[in-house]
């Protein structure tokens, strides 16, 4: 009997323990928000869009910082498909660039979707502003896409496309329609964004940033039909002028300040309109950081050792444009323009804003002095060789050494993490957009005025007259290495492809042989560093290779191959498939 009772008692415990199954099985995430729990107040909305300013763009940086720069002739590298404009659809940097744009588009669409679904107590201003920022980024994304690939699909709402399962049926859309779609998106963004840069939010996109982009899009779109549309050019002019006159923003007084780390420097006067805001505090969050210095900096430039960029550099052609040469005696080299040294480092250059812990950066000593290195290291880690055969190395996008980073942010860089922001649309660009639109609509004096404003900031002598070719040159001087000059050629190729081809063929795209020997000889004696003048400057043995000049440029090269992998799923996006025309304003809308 006792046995039975014990067993019944045990059974009772067991049954009790299993009665509330549903509670037992209901386990929503405990350690993170869900979308339904987020976007409920103003702070959360802002947090919800912050990431549109960094992560998704990361995969694009290599194409941005040297893929396109090599194509347009700003950067030299030995033996490379970007140098010959023959990149294939399987190229890693190319694919990553495409992934980056599409990811940003998808994230913008998702954020907009989520904010619209928010049931929280949010102020209409913040809600509008956040949606506006997402729309502006989306327009920027399509602007990149259409200029890079020409005809591309339009993914208006990822959630919808997934729901309808129509993702494998999309077609490439004709590029004129894609421009229209970007414009339509930006119009909505401008409707939602605040006009005045709100206090402390200067780093975010506002109405004028969106309007600036609008100006640039109109300028680019103007030639898409094969001949220039005066109407579009007038719009470009009108939008640009509004930004110039009414945004309250002016050019940063000192050109090199734009490329420094803190907002107090780069955003003194609000010049930067669209910026990728990287972070480096959390070194556990890959793709949230800037790692461009690693790709373009010379080995040993920072004590982190995460650099491998010394084997490429700003091209001979770009140096020509600045009126300097790798063969100049550095002690007597004349810089006619502040922008040259802020863009590229050449033998003998000195910088007060790099290696502040060493009292500034001395390029002579960096290259050849064994006893010159920033804190913490036991030896000069440079390759002791001048390796960029173009005669110059990158300067833009460098932040400096660890101490420089600590001075700016309070914490060190390292492990391919730094916090230097990357600007992708600046007011100076808009000055030149305005100038170009003026020029192309016959207003040479308007053009001259704004070209000279840009030159004035750089302490370059003012021009007395201007041509559209001169404006394009000015764009290269102002925006070199900022991922934009290739698109100047793309824009122009719409209506003047032969001119573009001729310009590319005329570029000096090769390297020098013998520079290192000359440089070493100039500062070293008997194997040890002495300083400039150790021996006399003698470049008689340096030869220009001449082996990378472009002989074979075709119109088709101004459009990058669309990555071929998706063709497996959707043959409509294949390299040979035709785009369709879409009346974007009929088909898509932003009715909120």
């Amino acid at each position: 009997m006792k046995r039975i009772l014990t067993i019944i008692a045990l059974a009772f415990v067991v049954v009790l323990g299993t009665t509330s199954c549903e509670d037992f099985l209901n386990r929503p995430a405990e350690d993170s928000y869900t979308t339904a729990q987020f976007y409920l107040n103003d702070t959360q909305l802002e947090q919800g869009v912050n990431y549109l300013y960094n992560v998704a763009w990361y995969d694009n940086i290599r194409f941005f910082i040297y893929g396109s720069e090599k194509m347009c002739g700003n950067v030299w590298q030995d033996r490379d498909a970007y140098m010959t404009l023959t990149v294939n659809g399987t190229d890693g940097d190319l694919k990553n660039m495409a992934y980056s744009y599409w990811a940003e588009n998808a994230q913008c669409n998702t954020v907009i979707h989520n904010i619209l679904a928010s049931t929280g107590d949010v102020s209409p201003e913040v809600r509008n502003r956040c949606i506006g920022e997402a729309l502006a980024w989306k327009a920027m994304t399509y602007f990149f896409l259409v200029r890079t690939f020409g005809d591309v699909p339009i993914i208006h709402d990822n959630t919808e496309v997934i729901k309808e399962a129509s993702y494998n049926e999309v077609y490439k859309v004709e590029k004129a329609d894609v421009y229209e779609y970007a414009i339509m998106t930006l119009e909505k963004a401008m409707e939602l964004l605040p006009k005045n840069p709100y206090i402390g939010k200067l780093n975010r996109i506002d109405y004028y940033a969106a309007e600036a982009l609008m100006a640039k899009i109109y300028l680019t779109k103007a030639g898409v039909t094969g001949s220039l549309s005066q109407e579009d050019l007038n719009k470009a002019k009108q939008y640009a002028l509004d930004v110039i006159q009414n945004s309250g923003r002016t050019l940063t007084p000192k050109y090199s300040d734009i490329f420094r780390m803190t907002a107090a420097q780069y955003q003194q006067t609000g010049e930067c309109l669209f910026t990728w805001h990287w972070q480096a505090a959390d070194k556990n969050a890959w793709t949230t950081q800037n790692s461009i210095q690693c790709d373009v900096g010379m080995n040993g430039f920072s004590e982190e050792g995460d650099l491998w960029g010394g084997w490429k550099g700003p091209s001979v052609d770009l140096q020509d444009l600045f009126g300097v040469s790798a063969l100049d005696d550095p002690t007597t080299r004349v810089n006619t323009d502040d922008r040259r040294q802020a863009t590229m480092m050449m033998f003998g250059d000195q910088y007060d804003y790099f290696w502040t812990d060493c009292g500034g950066f001395d390029f002579y000593r960096f290259l050849y002095d064994d006893n010159y290195y920033p804190g913490g290291l036991s030896g000069n880690a440079s390759s002791k060789e001048f390796t960029s055969l173009s005669g110059a190395v990158y300067c833009k996008h460098l932040f400096g050494d660890k101490a420089d980073h600590v001075a700016a942010f309070g914490y060190p860089s390292g492990y391919m993490y730094n916090g230097l922001p990357t600007h992708i649309l600046r007011l100076a660009d808009i000055y030149l957009v305005y100038a170009e639109a003026c020029m192309l609509t016959g207003d040479a004096s308007g053009a001259l005025e704004y070209v000279n404003k840009v030159r004035e900031r750089a302490h370059a002598a003012p021009l007395t007259s201007v041509t559209v070719q001169e404006i394009w040159k000015e764009r290269r001087r102002e925006l070199a290495l900022e991922g934009d000059n290739w698109y100047d050629l793309v824009r122009r190729s719409y209506y003047d492809v032969d001119g573009c081809i001729a310009d590319l063929k005329a570029q000096r795209r090769s390297g020098w042989d013998g520079l290192d020997k000359v440089y070493k000889n100039f500062v070293m004696d008997n194997g040890s560093y002495v300083g400039p003048g150790a021996h006399s400057w003698d470049v008689s043995e340096v030869t220009y290779r001449g082996n990378q000049e472009l002989s074979d440029v075709k119109a088709s090269m101004f459009i990058m191959p669309f990555p071929t992998e998706d063709v497996v799923m959707n043959p409509n996006v294949g390299s040979t498939s035709a785009p369709i025309h879409v009346d974007v304003r009929e088909t898509y809308s932003y009715d909120f």
Binding site: N26, E30, D78, A103, A285, P412, V568, M569
Partner: protein, 1069 residues
């Protein structure tokens, strides 16, 4: 009372009288091998009178004349002999090879083997013995029909990818369910990343085995349940098969101690044929001659150069392994115990990698009351892994292949040397292996407590509480490096602590009874488990020095992340069996499962199964044929199982923190799919068991068809949907139930005993498995195929609906363009210049690969990619032969695989990394490129004012026009490097996997020194492999690098399995 006393007295008297008439019988009991059977029991039938044979099988017994003697011993068929006039009776006991009535562990109970209707395979202690096993899962390889076990890496402590009857699901966990003494093993398939070892790359598939914490020497048997009628009792967790593991339990008697010791030496025998320094110099000079690079004085005269550094020799070493275990077992009638302790240390064959394990086990069983049995099984293990980043494009193995031979390991000061070529840093592979630290320490306490009650006869209630408490500490340390070209100015450290707690409660009641020829059993039960996990991770940089690895000393900005969560499952199940006259058997099972991985509307699902079998040899009409076919059984089964292994949270949309330059941000981690539900599987199995000639020949055959539907996976979307690229930036596609896969197969096991002689016996076991799978549908998606990726987002495999899984996808190489004419007469290459201006750097050129125009449209483009081979074998087999010569035993195990292709990803690489790309002079190349298309001048007399003959398309041709290797080209306009048949190799192999020679000391000798048993053995593993594969090892399982889980057979710097030679000693006293 008086009467009783009287009766007793009479009886006593009668006995005494009888005794005087008794006879003494002696004899020897021996077996087929001719040896005496020790400890056999000799009983006078119907009495308690008995004797036991001695060491040589001798016995002596005094019995009444005409008595019947019963001779029995475990493992032998019992014999009865009537004592007539003989006084010496020698008996030959026959091995009970049928073993039909041994008890076999099934889910929630045991059954007699003869009662089984499902398909399952047993592995006994003897099968595991002798082969060196660090992890249990390794022992499954080639041993059981229908079970494929391929080690994902040769690293110590790494796991195998186990597939029971083919790949049944693609994205959700595909590994079988492991159940140890009734407790489900947690954490199947973890990557280094899960433990916080981010330095190990982004691989998703486990290289860290959850089973590494279990000591194989504690295992008494493993039962692999294959078909759904067997696994359905595990319902939602049984879709990928179930491996039931039983540990050793004590037997009553005096304590027996056993020591097992093993010492082994491992070495990676094969090398990939990379160029040595002299060969590289010749190659370099050839590039110079064609104006592809500038001359380098160092390489100018290859004849004065040596062979340079062989980096593979530098990173591989002879590795030592040893293990020791002591166990004790014994007990009384009521209480039995088994305790063991073991230590194992294994060096990896890559310098610096190491694995060690301590483990303790206690198994106790106590019969407390006649109706109440209580037991506890508990094991505690501590493991330590010193893991190297071996795999992938940034791993030690790949670097050892690609690093140039002209760099020494050490510079003249004895420091590691490194080099930078045009910005490409070849991290010294030796330094890479030795400097960075990835340590993983794990602790795990698992076991269960059970009570078995028998309230009334035939009814057993078993109640069990299982537990698994585990924790891990992972340390990733990157020291400062200052090695010439390779500098790391600040050190960094990551430290992660994981802890998890799992408990389960189950109760099941079993009633079984027999009425005449009918016997049946019924079981109902309940099970519930909960698993809670948490982690805390800290990362910081700039420790003052590299001596003390304590993250709190770091001076950088710390970043901390943590997470926690739980999952749970609740289930109810039942099983009914019915047996009529040992001829007809039926089983029905049903399980009803609820999982927290799904939303409120989709949590519960039920799983049924039916099985029946017919033992036709027990039919009367068959009696006459039994001397030929002594056992024959036909089995038919059908069942449903499920899979919920998709991780929690897919039914809701979580947010992930993203730091930005504008402050913290939160992004949606995924697109929610509230409708996500169980993956379902239906399987039909027909099996036949046949035993011939007194079970000298045993044949088991099974055919099956299983359909997995509503397959759980992440939706594959084209890249313009924003779902590609780095994980943090892309939009993660929704997870849901999208696909249907069919697996069909045939499994044959032939177990024979060709020779059973006194001094020589031979047992042979051959098994072969055929499996075909097919993607039937991708419901709920617009896709017509599944795509799988290589290292990052490069598509390497495409599975079209209607095809088998994981076909490699790329171009077919038909040769090289011999000359200008050949280019003009072939389908147009992608970079064919429309304007007719050829340029060797920007257009197609003689010596470029000619790809097949698959769609016959006259141009070569992405539409010409096609299926270029399947990584799945047509069949796999294993063959074990065991020979016994007196005290010496020899076992030879051969296994193999036929018809599978391997993608040699090392050759292809990514970007500049390929080993046959010839697109830079910074990385070493495979000797294969010596057969590269060699361009020669057609008309040497043609003169040029500008350029050279090699830049004139009409004046070059390929000298070795039959080659399949392209010309060197740094720009590679024709994209010769893309995925093509160039990298696809035959992965078929036959491997002499295991040879064991053992010697057991004669018992006669040992008896004198009071030792029960001593055995010495030597074992050789991976002795020889016959294959055409050019990589290290054709045995390549699930990719360790692919994040989609949709590739197979991709050799991406995989840590190869070494050859191992071991010596072992086992003694019991």
């Amino acid at each position: 009372m008086k009467n009783k006393l009287l009766t007793f007295m009479l009886a006593l008297l009668a006995t005494a009288v009888a005794a005087t008439a008794q006879v003494k019988v002696t004899g020897v009991v021996s077996d087929d091998t001719g040896y005496g059977v020790i400890g056999a029991s000799v009983m006078e039938k119907g009495t308690r009178n008995g004797a036991v044979t001695d060491l040589d099988g001798n016995y002596e017994i005094t019995v009444s004349p005409g008595a019947t003697l019963v001779f029995s011993s475990i493992g032998y068929a019992t014999q009865e002999i009537v004592v007539g006039n003989q006084r010496v009776i020698n008996v030959l006991l026959k091995l009970d090879t049928e073993l039909l009535d041994e008890a076999v562990v099934v889910g929630y109970g045991t059954m007699k083997r003869s009662d089984l209707s499902g398909a399952s395979v047993s592995m006994k202690e003897e099968d595991l013995k002798g082969s060196i096993i660090t992890n249990l899962d390794q022992s499954l390889q080639g041993r059981a029909a229908g079970v494929s076990a391929v080690s994902t890496s040769g690293a110590p402590g790494s796991s195998s990818s186990i597939r029971v009857r083919g790949q049944a699901t693609v994205n959700a966990g595909a590994e079988p369910l492991y159940v140890i003494d009734g407790v489900i093993v947690q954490g199947g398939g973890s990557s280094g990343w899960d433990f916080g070892l981010s330095g190990l790359g982004n691989g998703k598939i486990s290289t860290i085995s959850p089973l590494a914490t279990i000591n194989p020497a504690d295992i008494v048997s493993m039962e692999i349940l294959k078909d759904a009628s067997a696994t359905a009792i595990y319902g939602a967790q049984g879709a990928n098969g179930v491996v039931l593991i039983t540990t050793k339990h004590g037997k009553s008697g005096e304590a027996k101690f056993t020591y097992d010791g093993m010492f082994a030496v491992s070495r990676q025998m094969s090398r990939i044929d990379m160029m040595n320094l002299r060969e590289f110099a010749e190659y370099y000079n050839d590039l110079v001659a064609q104006g592809l690079t500038s001359a380098n004085a160092y390489y100018a005269d290859p004849s004065i150069l040596g062979k340079g550094t062989n980096w593979q020799d530098e990173v591989f070493r002879t590795a030592i392994q040893h293990s020791h275990q002591i166990s004790a077992q014994g007990g009384t009638d009521k209480v039995q115990y088994y305790v063991s302790g073991s230590y194992m240390n294994q060096e990896g064959t890559i310098i610096g990698s190491n694995f060690n394990r301590f483990s303790f086990r206690t198994n106790l069983d106590a019969q407390l009351k006649e109706w109440f049995k209580l037991g506890i099984n508990a094991t505690y293990a501590e493991t330590k892994d010193d893991i190297k980043l071996a795999d992938g494009q940034e791993g030690v193995i790949f670097y050892s292949l690609s690093t140039l031979p002209d760099i020494p390991v050490y510079d003249i000061d004895g420091n590691y040397s490194t080099t930078v070529r045009e910005g490409y840093t070849s991290a010294n592979p030796v330094a890479l292996a030795m400097l960075d630290e990835n340590l993983l320490k794990r602790r795990k306490l698992t076991g269960n407590v059970y009570a078995e009650l028998t309230p009334i006869k035939h009814l057993v209630w078993r109640s069990e509480v299982g537990f698994d408490v585990s924790g891990s500490e992972a340390t990733g340390y990157k020291p400062m490096v200052n090695l010439g070209g390779w500098q790391r100015g600040s050190n960094s450290m990551t430290s992660q602590r994981n802890s998890s707690t799992y408990w389960s409660v189950k109760n099941f009641l079993t009633y079984s009874n027999t009425f005449g020829k009918h016997s049946f059993s019924a079981m109902v039960g309940q099970e519930a488990w909960e698993s809670r996990w948490s982690y805390m991770r800290a990362n910081n940089t700039d420790l003052p020095s590299d001596e003390i690895h304590n993250i709190s000393l770091a001076t950088g900005t710390p970043s901390v992340s943590s997470g926690f969560g739980s999952s749970a499952m609740a289930s109810f199940f039942t099983r009914e069996t019915y047996n009529f006259d040992n001829r007809y058997l039926f089983t029905y099972t049903f399980r009803y499962d609820g999982s927290s991985n799904f939303g409120p509307d989709n949590r519960w699902a039920g799983f049924h199964s039916f099985a029946g079998s017919w033992r036709f040899t027990n039919e009367k009409f068959f009696a006459g044929a039994r001397h030929v076919l002594n056992n024959g059984k036909l089995r038919v089964g059908w069942g449903q199982t499920g899979n919920a292994n998709i991780g929690s949270g897919a039914w809701e949309s979580g947010m992930t923190k993203v730091p930005t330059g504008l402050g913290d941000s939160q992004r949606p981690a995924n697109i929610a799919n509230t409708g996500i539900h169980w993956e379902k599987q239906r399987q039909t199995n027909i099996g036949l068991d046949l035993s011939f000639l007194d079970s000298r020949i045993n044949l088991t055959m099974d055919v099956y068809r299983k359909i997995s539907s509503d397959m759980l996976m992440e939706m594959t979307l084209p890249s313009y949907m924003g779902t590609q690229g780095n994980g943090a930036g892309r939009l993660n596609a929704p997870k849901g139930n999208y696909g249907t896969i069919e697996n069909k197969g045939l499994e044959i096991t032939l177990d024979t005993h060709p020779v059973l002689k006194k001094n020589f016996s031979w047992n042979s076991n051959f098994q072969i498995s055929f499996n075909r799978n097919k993607l039937l549908a991708l419901d709920g998606t617009a896709n017509a195929q599944l795509v799988g990726y290589g290292q990052w987002s490069d598509i390497v495999s495409v599975t079209e609906i209607g095809e088998s899984l994981y076909n490699f996808y790329g171009y077919k190489v038909v040769g090289v363009y011999k000359d200008f004419e050949d280019i003009m007469n072939s389908p147009k290459a992608e970079k064919f210049p429309e304007d007719g201006v050829f340029n060797r750097n920007t257009t197609v050129w003689p010596g470029d690969l000619k790809f097949e125009d698959v769609n016959k449209d006259g141009v070569i483009n992405e539409n010409d990619r096609t299926n270029i081979g399947s990584p799945l074998p047509k069949f796999t087999f294993g063959w074990t032969n065991t020979f016994t010569f007196g005290n010496v035993d020899l076992s030879i195990f051969i296994n193999g695989s036929y018809g599978n292709k391997v993608l040699n990803y090392n050759l292809m690489g990514q970007g500049y990394n390929g080993l046959v790309h010839m697109n830079s002079t910074w990385t070493n190349q495979h000797v294969m490129i010596q057969d590269r298309a060699r361009l020669e001048v057609i008309d040497p007399n043609k003169t040029y004012t500008q350029g050279n003959w090699y830049e004139d398309v009409t004046n070059v041709r390929v000298a070795n026009s039959g080659t399949m290797v392209p010309r060197p080209s740094f720009e590679d306009p024709n994209d010769n490097d893309r995925l093509s048949t160039r990298y696809i190799e035959d992965g078929s192999y036959i491997r002499l996997k295991n040879v064991t020679v053992g010697y057991t000391f004669p018992k006669r000798l040992l008896q004198k020194i009071k030792i029960d048993n001593i055995r010495l053995y030597a074992n050789l593993q991976n002795l020889y492999t016959l294959t055409r594969y050019k990589g290290y090892d054709p045995e390549v399982g699930a990719s360790t690098q692919d994040s989609s889980g949709l590739t197979f057979g991709v050799d991406n710097g995989r840590y190869p399995s070494p050859m191992t030679c071991s010596f072992g000693l086992s003694f019991t006293f």
